[in-house]
Structure formats: structure tokens, C-alpha cells
Symmetry: C2
Subunit: 201 residues, 2 copies
Amino acid sequence: MSQILEVLVQRKSVRTFKDKPVGEEMVQLLLRAGECAPSWGDGRPWHFVVLEDRKIITRIPEFHPESAVLLKCPLAIALFGEPQKEGFPGSWPLDCAVAMQNMLLQAQALSLGAVWLGIYPHERRMHALEALLEVPPHIRAFGVAAVGHPAEKLPLREERFDPSRVHYGSWQGSRGKSEKPKECEDRSEHCGGEEGRDDHA
Amino acid sequence: MSQILEVLVQRKSVRTFKDKPVGEEMVQLLLRAGECAPSWGDGRPWHFVVLEDRKIITRIPEFHPESAVLLKCPLAIALFGEPQKEGFPGSWPLDCAVAMQNMLLQAQALSLGAVWLGIYPHERRMHALEALLEVPPHIRAFGVAAVGHPAEKLPLREERFDPSRVHYGSWQGSRGKSEKPKECEDRSEHCGGEEGRDDHA
């Protein structure tokens, strides 16, 4: 498996962290990763707010029921969009999603743990985060990355590949020669077992 | 620079390809990369349609004015969303954006070139691509990755980092100790020079 695919596959959501800060150098690497995301028309309609103050971070679970991870988390990076800079009407959330993924991958490569807490398109959460961090009215909340040093060594994530999601030539198409990487036998860990979760698995 | 950051930074849109097919093994690596993206509530609301037939690929520029790259491109992977599987109303395009980015990164790591051609949220293009590939009515078009072997060795992409997009503690916050990786001096290559482009830089 190529090294990049290893990072892509092994990235999984981490929700328990050591009581240990994330060093400044790592914070900068996460931000650099986020900022080099591609964006529609190169609009780069994003802003990053680095949160290390426990008093601020722990306010987020007050309005985001799935964000208890933030109660014991040394670092959160809140991602915001600036629709005025987007390359096409409605594209800013896509650009922000890619910037978020870049940060998650960089965290994985640094042996940090992270989880993407969904804010956009949940209007109530968006307004609450915008109010908490006092952003100007033209800036919209997108999501929060909770980041830290993983509390425990996690088992490697099993690659999940669902061949039924792949089509050849057209929707109805298939081809016999398609290799089928092994599927995860037990999807309950990620699906059933996390039912009701609305962060990003 | 860590290896992952190198891939993230150096990934740039490639629009001219050699007349050489992309091997089956590489196609499968791209699909595996796409499928291991995180998604809201682990919904994985995506489908991939692999296009290698020139007769189909070259129909896309008929309705997508910025997709001339497809006229000479050996492989296109069209990404579709299945809103019924999304983890939160309106989250499927975010999930698809991340799956697209994973494929672009895998392409970069394989020394392939690729560019993300925006379809969603452009309604006319969405309908046209859905009609072309005859997808069922509950499936929505998201985007197309044009992929191939780069026609020429491209100069390394200069890292662009805009410190004004980073805030500390709150929107108004800043901190002196922030390291500032060098900014790209000439942004015209990516911004001004590509003005009007609506694919992803």
C-alpha cells in the first residue's frame, strides 16, 4: 500500500486525548495543510480559528450535543467560510470540507488524533459558533476539528471498500476484471455502533 | 516537510495529459482512496462512475464550458451523491468533496495528474451529467475528476499560506509567536491568471 493510501485509510476519528498540549509546530503544520486545499476557482474562502483556551473550547458542547470530545481536548481548530470569496455560488462549504480533510490527514501523519465535528449545514450550530467566536456577519461557521494526542493506541482501521459504489462506463456498468479489495466484515463499529452520531466517522 | 504535507502542497490541477491509459491498478487505488473518506455519521453517500470511453468522456464539455481537459484525457471518474444515505440533511456534498480530494491526493502520490471539474451545485450541469450517465432519479451529480499521465513535468507548486486567514482564540485574535511560512509572491498564476476558471485550482 502506498504511503499516502496508508494515511488515507488509517485516518479515523479519535475522541479521547492525553492531557498534553499540541505543540506550536504541529499547529502550524495543520494550518498549512488546511490552507493548501484546492478550491473552486481558487477562491480559498476559508478562515481558521485556533482554540486552545479551555474556557472557550468547552462552551461548544453547550450547543453541539455530539461534541463531548471537546470537554477534554487540548486543541480545536474552528473552520469558517467567507462566501464572498467563493468561486461559484454555494461552493464555499465544499472548499472548507477539503481544507478540513487536509487537516485531518496532516494530524494522522503527525500521530495526532482528530475528529471533525459537523457544524454546517446545521443552522442552529452555525449561529451559535459564530456568536461564540464573534465573527463578522459575512463569515459563516463550517466545522470544528478536535485535535490532541490519542489517549490510547488505536487498532489500525480496517479498509472498507464497497464495490457496489463503483460503476463502469455508466450507472449500470460493471466489469469483471475489477479487483475487489477486501471489505470490512463488521461494519457495525462504524455504522450501527455509531448510529445517531453526527460527527464524521 | 513531512511526506504527507509534501503531497498536500504539491497537488495542483493538471490539464494536459499524455496519450496513455491509466492502468487498472491505479484506477483501483484512486477508488480505494475515494471510498475511505470520512463522512457525516459515516453515511458514505457516494458513488463513483469510471469513464474510459472517449465517446462518453468527450460529451461532458458539451455542457461544461470549463472541461476542455476532457477532450484529451484517458480517464474520468464521475462522483455522484446519494442524499438518502447522508448523515445529516445537506451533508452529502461535503462527503463527496472529501472523497474527491482523497482521489486527487492519491493521483498526486501516483505521479498522475488530475483536476476536479465542478458540477454541484451548478444545477444545469448536474442534470446534464445525470442524464448522460443515466443515473436513477435519487442520485445527484457532484463532480468529475479528469485523470491522466501529465504531458509535461510541472514546476513544483509554491506553497501558499495566507496568515490573515488564521485567527487565535477568537476572530480578532492573533499571536506574535506564529511562524509565517513564506507566502507565494506572485498569486496571479493561481488567481488572476486563472480568473474565470471554475474548476478547482
